[in-house]
């Protein structure tokens, strides 16, 4: 009879994840036991303190490089950087979730998600001034899943983390206060397609396990190295795992959910999801490909080449035709996924740091842009149709200027972070010989510049008319987020070197 030996767990190394996990559980208890009147401040403080606490512990832990938890958790340079990115972006999005002075009705979330849209119940909840606080619990669990996703070093932990990240997001997407039919529809589509892609992920994991006899990523790599020639089993398994991950980043041809979810979700949740899910999913994708599948690089390179080019071109072309700002940003997100994949395909240390820089800068711009969108309103709530943005820059020069900075950054214009990240990703691609891929990326960037610049043209070069939306006065929360993101976008664009040094020192994924 074999004796069971418990795996060693380095609690210090995984402390940032544990802090968020404990806060999420406390948040469930808060929801259960505290009276309605105090829940909102308690939940808010709990969320903000745990995110900031985790960030502080992460900075203290910055020199830890270890594999712990029986090989399931890998804490290395990229993992620490990606966890920090997720925590900062989650913190900035949490401010948007907390905002309640933009809308005359309160915050962005339905007072009771269970009450039918337009029903007596809903009106009563609204009239009594109830606020929904479960959103904070779901928010913390989603952050927990993302943190676990980027450190997962075996396929089982990666799958569980993927689900802990996704399930709260499906629910959060369906909780908008206004336009609830759109929101519910977005949640349904996101859920059905998300569950479909997770099934592919776990089936692929099963096939890889069958080939390697282990679910641990380094052991899969050893099995690939010791087996003469690759088999169909491992290639199909790897491709199915990639389907699950490419779905999460919204790359073509797995992008169908992206525009609907971006448009239907409450704007703070769009900001949270659009920024952080990309970081988590690309982090997990890089670890999976570089640690487990470096032996069959030729196979996944071909797949990602095709997905990258399709995402960049299709995302940019469809974005040109959009008239809704949130929907346009969704197609822009698809195109940006393609640009990030150029760095993933490069598969070199400079590629890793370029991708991480891209994720940081792009995440900040995404949160900032959606914070600006949440301020532009008319009598029916947010005014996302581009025609209502006509002359907005003349009506409100500060908001117009901020939005212009974000759009220029997304387009990749120098002196904004967007130029630096595009340049470093393309440079990494050229260095690894992916010249044609980079040429396609440059062409797609030129197409993409059109629709980003169109927003600026609409805001500044057309006269305000009676349809032009007004700009709501935000509270301190949204102001902090917008100020922080716009400052970061400019600083990273003008003096990128400290960040590049930091990311280069972070090194590569450990085995």
């Amino acid at each position: 009879m074999n004796t069971f030996t418990a795996p060693e767990i380095d609690y210090v190394a995984i402390a940032p994840i544990l802090i968020v996990a404990i806060a999420a559980l406390l948040s469930v208890l808060t929801e259960t036991f505290l009276p309605r009147s105090v829940r909102r401040p308690v939940q808010m403080i709990l969320t903000l303190i745990s995110l900031i606490g985790a960030l502080i512990v992460l900075v203290i832990n910055r020199d830890i490089r270890t594999i712990t938890g029986g090989g399931a958790v890998a804490i290395d340079g990229p993992a620490l950087v990606l966890m920090g990115t997720i925590l900062i972006l989650a913190l900035l999005s949490a401010f948007l979730v907390a905002e309640r002075s933009l809308d005359s009705l309160g915050d962005s979330f339905a007072p009771s998600a269970a009450a039918l849209p337009g029903s007596v119940d809903e009106r009563e909840f609204s009239a009594r001034g109830y606020f929904q606080t479960e959103i904070w619990t779901l928010f913390l669990f989603a952050v927990l899943g993302m943190l676990a996703f980027v450190v997962a070093n075996d396929l089982l932990f990666m799958f569980v983390a993927l689900e802990v990240m996704s399930l709260p997001l499906y629910l959060m997407v369906g909780m908008a206060r206004r336009r609830r039919l759109l929101s519910q529809e977005a949640a349904l589509k996101y859920f059905v397609l998300g569950a479909f892609s997770s099934a592919f992920f776990i089936f692929g994991a099963g096939l890889v396990y069958g080939f390697a006899g282990s679910i641990s990523l380094p052991e899969i790599n050893d099995a690939l190295a010791s087996t003469a020639g690759e088999t169909l089993l491992i290639v199909i398994g790897m491709a199915m795992l990639l389907v699950g991950l490419l779905f999460k980043v919204g790359a073509v041809p797995f992008h169908q959910w992206t525009p609907d979810v971006y448009q239907g979700a409450p704007t703070p949740i769009t900001a949270f999801m659009g920024a952080t899910v990309k970081v988590a999913a690309f982090g997990a994708m890089m670890r999976l490909l570089y640690v487990a599948f470096s032996g069959i690089q030729w196979d996944w390179e071909i797949i990602l080449w095709a997905v990258s080019i399709l995402s960049m071109i299709i995302g940019s072309l469809i974005a040109l035709t959009q008239s809704d700002v949130k929907r346009m940003l969704a197609y822009s997100a698809i195109a940006q996924s393609g640009f990030i994949l150029v760095g993933v395909v490069a598969a070199s240390p400079s590629g890793i740091s370029a991708v991480m820089f891209y994720l940081i800068a792009y995440g900040l711009v995404t949160v900032g842009t959606l914070a600006v969108i949440s301020m532009v309103r008319d009598s029916t709530g947010e005014a996302t149709h581009l025609s209502k943005w006509a002359g907005l820059g003349k009506k409100s020069p500060v908001l117009g200027a901020v939005m212009a900075v974000f759009m220029l950054s997304l387009a990749g214009i120098p002196l904004t972070s967007g130029f630096v990240i595009k340049f470093s990703v393309f440079a990494a691609g050229i260095a690894e010989g992916d010249t044609w891929l980079v040429i396609a990326a440059v062409v797609a960037s030129i197409i993409a510049a059109f629709f980003y610049v169109r927003v600026i043209v609409v805001m500044f070069f057309s006269a305000p008319n009676e349809n032009t939306a007004s700009v709501a006065v935000p509270s301190i929360f949204t102001t902090i987020t917008v100020a922080a993101t716009v400052t970061a976008t400019l600083v990273l664009g003008i003096i990128p070197q400290p960040m590049i040094d930091l990311l280069t020192n972070a090194g590569i994924f450990i085995r």
Binding site: P117, L155, E163, Y170, E185, V192, I202, F203, G206, Y209
Partner: protein
């Protein structure tokens, strides 16, 4: 009996599930098809655990069951809410978001 036949069976179940998701209209049936796909994955893990002679695959099967149960909770909440709003469980009917 050779465990490889279980892999063929699992692949067949997975394909039935995937086709079910793609062609059926009722959200509940679509959802059941997804569950079939997850259970096909379970069968792969258990069969390969037998073939490889280690227990990792059986452990994974337990976790996948738990995840599937959590997915049911979230999924049915969303589907029931959409059904109550629209009095229909068809996934083709919610079509406000497009282009």
């Amino acid at each position: 009996m050779d465990p490889i036949y279980y892999i063929y069976l699992a692949t067949l179940l997975f394909s039935i599930g995937a086709i079910g998701v793609l062609v059926r209209r009722n959200a509940i049936i679509v959802f059941m098809s997804v569950e079939l796909m997850l259970n096909a994955a379970n069968l792969v893990f258990v069969a390969f655990a037998r073939m490889n002679g280690n227990l990792d695959g059986q452990t994974v099967a337990f976790f996948v069951m738990v995840v599937a149960a959590a997915e049911v909770v979230v999924g049915l909440a969303i589907i029931v809410q959409v059904f109550r709003t629209r009095a229909s469980a068809s996934i083709d009917e919610p079509n406000l978001l497009k282009y």
